[in-house]
């Protein structure tokens, strides 16, 4: 008797889809951070701006310049077009494309063409004064390119196992990036929880929200009154907003459950880790978090996210032979 071909997915392919998605998410995140900074800087004193630049470098895990001096041009170059910086936008998009190129036959033609086009567009960009002046066009293009890729992916690829690894990569990366960004801000910008900030301080919180694409969504829920406590609550615990930590962890958990079901593998470890993180976030109260130390809380989220990543790797991508003879 001949049985129908069941869908299989190579471990290497799953690994590539996962990383492709992580890199693209990282590129989009960095592009948004710099874009927001560019516009914020116009309203700020130079001192306030340079403090944020160092935080920006830290949040994107880029090396600070050797001479310690930093200006807008240097910062933009390091984070965008510098091929020697593995977390620059150009490096991330190239890495995403390289990963997808290795599994081209697994994605739809439209997906490949969209990512390839984005890569060719960015790769042809050279830094110049004129470019710097209008660099926001570039950052918009990166964000739009990434959004377009996500849309094309969702509407042209089967929402099967491969798609789930793309989801997983995106939201693991997002959880980590959001937690890092929020942590850096809470530990370096002075604030009082219940008062809405003014002047420079107000701008810093607007900056944080915008860096998470969250300003408008925040205003809808809390009005335009910016209280650090509410901002933290929205970005950490909101279940509906796609750039909140809670939402991202929910998506990680959902993708892991779907994958465990599709592969019929006993994968308790990653699902359990993500489930626990999800439970923590859904039962947390923001005032408790702030009272017991927001920075530690955010650090623990990042740590658990890292554990889930390791568990995924060990179960699906790189497992010992004897554990896995199926047919």
């Amino acid at each position: 008797m001949i049985e129908r071909r069941s869908t299989t997915m190579l471990s290497r392919v799953a690994d590539s889809l996962y990383w492709m998605s992580r890199y693209l998410e990282r590129a989009e995140h960095t592009a948004r951070l710099i874009d927001v900074d560019f516009h914020l800087r116009l309203d700020q004193s130079p001192e306030a701006g340079s403090g944020r630049w160092l935080r920006l470098l830290e949040a994107s895990q880029a090396p600070p310049p050797e001479d310690g001096k930093i200006d807008a041009a240097a910062l933009t170059n390091i984070l965008t077009l510098d091929k020697t910086n593995p977390s620059s936008i150009i490096s991330c998009v190239a890495a995403a494309r390289e990963n997808l190129r290795q599994v081209r036959e697994q994605c739809s033609t439209e997906m490949w063409e969209q990512l390839n086009r984005l890569y060719l567009q960015i790769n042809g960009t050279t830094s110049s004064e004129a470019w710097l002046l209008h660099s926001y066009v570039f950052f918009r293009a990166v964000q739009e390119g990434a959004h377009l890729f996500q849309g094309v992916t969702d509407s042209t690829m089967s929402h099967g196992e491969g798609w789930q690894y793309i989801q997983l990569g995106r939201y693991v990366e997002r959880t980590d990036a959001l937690a890092r960004l929020i942590g850096t801000q809470l530990s370096s910008v002075p604030y009082s929880l219940d008062q809405s900030g003014e002047g420079e301080e107000y701008l810093e919180w607007v900056g944080l929200l915008k860096s998470c694409a969250a300003f408008e969504a925040y205003c809808k829920k809390y009005t335009a009154e910016l209280r650090p406590l509410w901002v933290a609550e929205f970005l950490l615990l909101n279940p509906e907003f796609p750039h909140s930590v809670r939402f991202s962890v929910d998506m990680v958990h959902a993708a892991l459950r779907a994958i465990a079901e599709l592969t019929e593998r006993k994968a308790e470890q990653p699902v359990r880790l993500a489930g626990r993180l999800r439970a923590t976030l859904s039962f947390s109260q923001i005032d408790e978090i702030m009272a017991s130390g927001a920075h530690a809380y955010v650090d623990s989220i990042r740590q658990q996210c890292g554990q889930a990543h390791t568990a995924i790797h060990q179960i699906y991508f790189d497992y010992p032979v004897e554990s896995a003879l199926v047919s």
Partner: protein
């Protein structure tokens, strides 16, 4: 009706040139062959600007689709778009039928030859092919002796290079029996041409080629080991050396079109002489491997130890009959350029028939008198290394310098078995759209032959173009391009 002799000088044919080569489009200056008339008329009526736009759109579409190849030995050395020319090459049905019969005959004979050489060796005992020639071939695989493979088919995927000589007849230039590539360009060219000349295409009645992937899958399934068919539908995979291989685009394309997994060596493992692939759901058994990795690199335990592309233990699984490789290992002896000279004899020996397609005259340099002749006439001949492909390791006498000739003279004297010589062929020429007008360029033709349940040829193939003016080298690595090939239905 415009005067044909005068229309020759109208754009885009204003500067079109003729020489002694066979011209695919014109039977005499200004007089198109009957099957080219419609294309000729269309081109006369087409503003060059429009052609240029179509060409740009096509180039961009190739770049966006990532239809690229990798050039080796070049520092920049990464992806390049394979240039596509928009003017189709048209082959009348009657001519195609002869090509088809000739190639079917040839693949049948070469498979019988391989089976014989790796078993009893009758043809060697009978002295038709010298034993020395076979055993000194770099691609002869001692390990294959006595191994029985499904259906006795060693070469199931073949790409044979044909050229058209000045008298209009086709000749076989070389057989590619190991891992021939280029079929994806044939399919991509067709897709583009259908967009550029939709009406012309329909009116011409062109035979379709789009079913190639399906035919390839059927061929591979037909080879599956007997043990697998009772168990389940055979699992077929395509083994690629990886993303840095020059034909990587093609590997992904074919795997996707066939709906099979594209695997690298690291995705496979052998356990108890059975091949598995590593999937997210655990290990899955593999029955047929369409391998695009050379013999040398396929199994570091049996062949080259430094290979990181292969699968340790694969050869043992193969020998045990638990997995099928297509093409089989050791097929390279039959496309050795020195053995090529014996193919007409091989066809007569196994099939008792005369070859339908002629060979090109070939000088064997192990023979003293032939070698002396070649060394005296090195400036007129083409010298080729017997085991190379892709236009590497080759001297074109008339286009070479004295230093290059001297270098090859020394190479030949050091290792005569390693080289052959052929007359410099005047390949046929066809119009190509270059620099905004039609220019004549030399071309060849590589049809693809599949051999599983039976022999299948998709009507058409890859017409390769030597894009540099006057050049006779059509290989993509040496500045070649390609164009769509239209085989007419009637």
């Amino acid at each position: 009706m415009p005067d044909p002799a005068r229309s020759l000088f109208r754009p885009p044919f204003r500067n079109y040139q003729f020489d002694t080569a066979y011209d695919e489009m014109f039977e005499a200056p200004g007089v198109p062959r009957s099957h080219y008339k419609a294309l000729f008329q269309t081109l006369l009526g087409l503003p060059p600007e429009e052609m240029r736009k179509s060409q740009q759109a096509a180039d961009l579409s190739f770049l966006h689709q990532g239809i690229t190849f990798t050039v080796y030995g070049n520092e920049e050395g990464t992806e390049r778009v394979f240039p596509n020319d928009l003017l189709p090459r048209i082959i009348p049905n009657q001519e195609w039928r002869k090509i088809e019969n000739g190639l079917t005959q040839r693949i049948a004979a070469l498979n019988l030859f391989l089976e014989d050489v790796y078993h009893r060796g009758r043809i060697l005992i009978d002295g038709v092919v010298p034993r020395e020639l076979v055993h000194s071939c770099r691609h002869f695989r001692r390990e294959m002796r006595g191994i029985t493979i499904p259906r006795g088919i060693y070469v199931s995927i073949c790409g044979t290079d044909l050229v058209r000589l000045p008298d209009g007849s086709f000749a076989v230039l070389e057989d590619n029996l190991r891992v021939p590539s280029g079929v994806s360009y044939m399919l991509a060219n067709r897709k583009v041409l259908k967009k550029v000349f939709p009406r012309l295409f329909r009116d011409y009645g062109v035979s379709p080629v789009d079913h190639y992937a399906q035919a390839l899958l059927a061929t591979l399934r037909a080879l599956s080991p007997p043990s697998s068919t009772s168990r389940h539908e055979p699992t077929v995979v395509l083994l690629t050396p990886g993303v840095f291989n020059s034909a990587y685009f093609e590997h992904t394309f074919l795997a996707q079109q066939m709906g099979i997994e594209l695997v690298e060596g690291r995705d496979l493992l052998v356990h108890d002489n059975v091949v598995y692939m590593r999937t997210t759901a655990g290990l899955k058994r593999v029955d047929v491997i369409y391998r695009r990795v050379d013999d040398d690199f396929i199994d570091p335990l049996t062949f080259r130890r430094d290979s990181g592309l292969g699968v340790p233990g694969l050869f043992n699984a193969y020998r045990a009959g638990n997995v099928v490789l297509a093409n089989a290992i050791g097929t390279g002896i039959a496309d050795d350029k020195a053995l090529y000279a014996y193919v007409p004899k091989i066809i007569r020996y196994y099939l008792g028939e005369d070859p339908i397609l002629q060979n090109v005259e070939t000088y064997l340099l192990t023979d003293r008198s032939q070698r002396d002749y070649v060394l005296d006439h090195i400036g007129e001949l083409v010298i080729k290394a017997v085991g190379e492909s892709g236009g590497y390791g080759m001297l074109i006498g008339p286009h070479s310098s004295t230093e290059q000739q001297e270098e090859f003279r020394q190479l030949i004297l050091a290792e005569p078995r390693n080289y052959i010589a052929q007359p410099t062929l005047n390949l046929s020429r066809a119009p190509c759209f270059l620099e905004g007008e039609a220019q004549a360029r030399h071309i060849d033709l590589r049809p693809y032959i599949l051999y599983g349940e039976n022999v299948t040829l998709v009507p058409g193939g890859l017409t390769r173009v030597a894009l540099r003016r006057g050049s006779l080298v059509v290989n993509s690595s040496q500045g070649g391009g390609s164009k769509d090939t239209w085989v007419l239905r009637a």
